[in-house]
């Protein structure tokens, strides 16, 4: 198989609702090559932190509030951030192909980096206009099943070549929902979704041996931490 530079370090499946998850001991784990040699995933050896996730907030709130979706590294203080966003809170309804602008949020010396205005709950008011359907395996799936709900997809990324960079994170999340029946959706669409793109960092100490992602609301989902290394230290499994 050969060796390559990417590692899937951790998967945190959240099948039971929680309000916070933490990737821990990020820099103490090892990559293993195809002859069993190991390389610790230190800041120097594995400078790229890439988090991909899908998440579903168990609330009907069409905007979570900025601090109700956040993340931070080792320090929950002195975090700075800014992001452009839109949600069903700022654009209460949207008409197809009618462009609208985004808003901006930012914070200085905050306890965390935030993106809640670009998020929304998946138990939105117009959810479940459909009826039960059979999936391709023949299972009946209710309209309000978690299997059919709208999910936020997210991407946080950090390049950490040294420990002097205070502002290494950039992030993007988005969700588009299933509002209005087919053929009746030319009218403005409520609870259409949410989105943001932003960046930030922590000036108290940019250490990310632990990374915590949390919310004021409970959520379910799947969270993956990938590491990009500065050499081909990991066997392709």
């Amino acid at each position: 198989m050969g060796n390559q530079q990417w590692v899937l370090e951790t998967h945190i499946p959240v099948n039971n609702a929680t309000s916070s998850i933490t990737f821990s001991n990020n820099n103490g784990q090892y990559a293993t090559n195809d002859i069993g040699g190991t390389t610790i995933m230190s800041y120097t050896n594995a400078p790229v932190y890439r988090i991909h996730f899908k998440v579903r907030f168990l609330t009907s709130a069409n905007s979570l509030g900025s601090s109700n979706f956040y993340f931070h590294g080792n320090y929950s203080s002195s975090n700075d951030f800014t992001y452009d966003y839109a949600s069903a809170n700022t654009n209460t309804s949207m008409s197809p192909n009618s462009a609208v602008g985004t808003s901006r949020d930012y914070g200085y010396s905050s306890g965390n980096q935030q993106l809640g205005y670009g998020s929304m709950g998946s138990q939105f008011s117009n959810h479940a206009w459909g009826t039960a359907v059979n999936d391709l395996d023949g299972n009946s799936v209710a309209a309000n099943s978690r299997r059919r709900g709208a999910w936020i997809t997210g991407w946080f990324e950090n390049h950490f070549p040294d420990q002097a960079g205070y502002y290494p994170w950039h992030y993007q999340i988005g969700i588009v929902t299933d509002q209005h029946n087919d053929n009746s959706a030319s009218a403005p669409t409520a609870d259409w979704g949410a989105w943001c793109i932003g960046a930030g960092g922590c000036s108290a100490g940019p250490y990310i041996d632990t990374i915590t992602i949390g919310s004021g609301y409970n959520f379910i989902g799947d969270f993956f931490l990938f590491r990009g290394m500065n050499g081909n230290y990991q066997a392709n499994e």
């Binding site: 998967h11 839109a86 192909n97 209710a142 099943s145 059919r148 993007q172 209005h180 669409t189 499994e237």
Partner: protein, 235 residues
């Protein structure tokens, strides 16, 4: 729970001329934590006489379809998409965004659409190429799938570089409608195919991709913990 560092290029296809309407990958292995789709190339807005695209105006980006939900595809009747597209241009302050696609007034559409370029006249290979990258998390599980996109397009012609017509950033989300009875079952099925095309002109004629446009899909990471069957059938 076990994870593996499993990374593969799962498929790649490229145009060899400027007469292809789309690039397509099918039978994609979805046994990965994440699928990454990367398109780079251009839309031949001049169309070689096949389109009625006017010069000196904004044009839409690529069309996107997946899970076999396209005309002639195995799930053609499931082509009920939800689309949210965003763009950042030099003549606007923050980002702009909209639902649906330009050619349809409904928010349930037969395809998705991401990207926006200013077309001056003719096509300039060196300045109209763009990149679009999307991720699908848990492409093989039993839940509705979504692809999160970001990308960038360059200025369409030298004369417009650095002016208000430049366009830089694109983003968006695409999915099959998981409530519509025609698409819900397919929306929950694996993300095992994708078609990225040049879109259609206002008369409904398919546009063409430029030569050496390329679509690649990567599989990234593996986990033993994947929701399958009818897990989570309740709320």
């Amino acid at each position: 729970m076990t994870v593996k560092s499993k990374f593969y290029t799962l498929g790649s296809v490229e145009t060899s001329n400027s007469s292809s309407n789309y690039l397509q990958l099918t039978g994609i292995n979805t046994d990965f934590a994440v699928l990454r789709f990367v398109f780079n190339g251009m839309i031949d807005h001049s169309g070689g006489g096949t389109t009625n695209v006017a010069s000196n105006q904004w044009q839409q980006g690529v069309s996107i379809q997946f899970q076999g939900a396209w005309a002639g595809g195995p799930n053609a009747s499931a082509a009920k998409y939800r689309n949210h597209q965003c763009w950042q241009a030099a003549n606007s302050s923050n980002w702009y965004h909209s639902l649906g696609v330009a050619a349809h007034s409904y928010s349930v559409t037969p395809y998705c659409e991401i990207g926006r370029q200013y077309y001056s006249s003719g096509n300039v290979d060196s300045s109209e190429r763009f990149t679009l990258e999307g991720i699908c998390v848990m492409p093989g599980n039993n839940q509705s799938k979504q692809i999160l996109w970001k990308g960038s397009g360059t200025s369409p012609a030298t004369a417009y570089q650095g002016t208000s017509y430049s366009c830089s950033g694109w983003a968006g989300e695409t999915k099959l409608d998981a409530q519509n009875s025609a698409s819900a079952a397919v929306a929950m099925s694996p993300m095992n195919s994708i078609r990225i095309g040049a879109g259609w002109d206002s008369a409904g004629t398919p546009k063409t991709l430029g030569v050496y446009s390329c679509l690649t899909v990567f599989g990234e990471g593996w986990t033993s913990d994947v929701q399958t069957g009818n897990d989570w059938s309740g709320t």
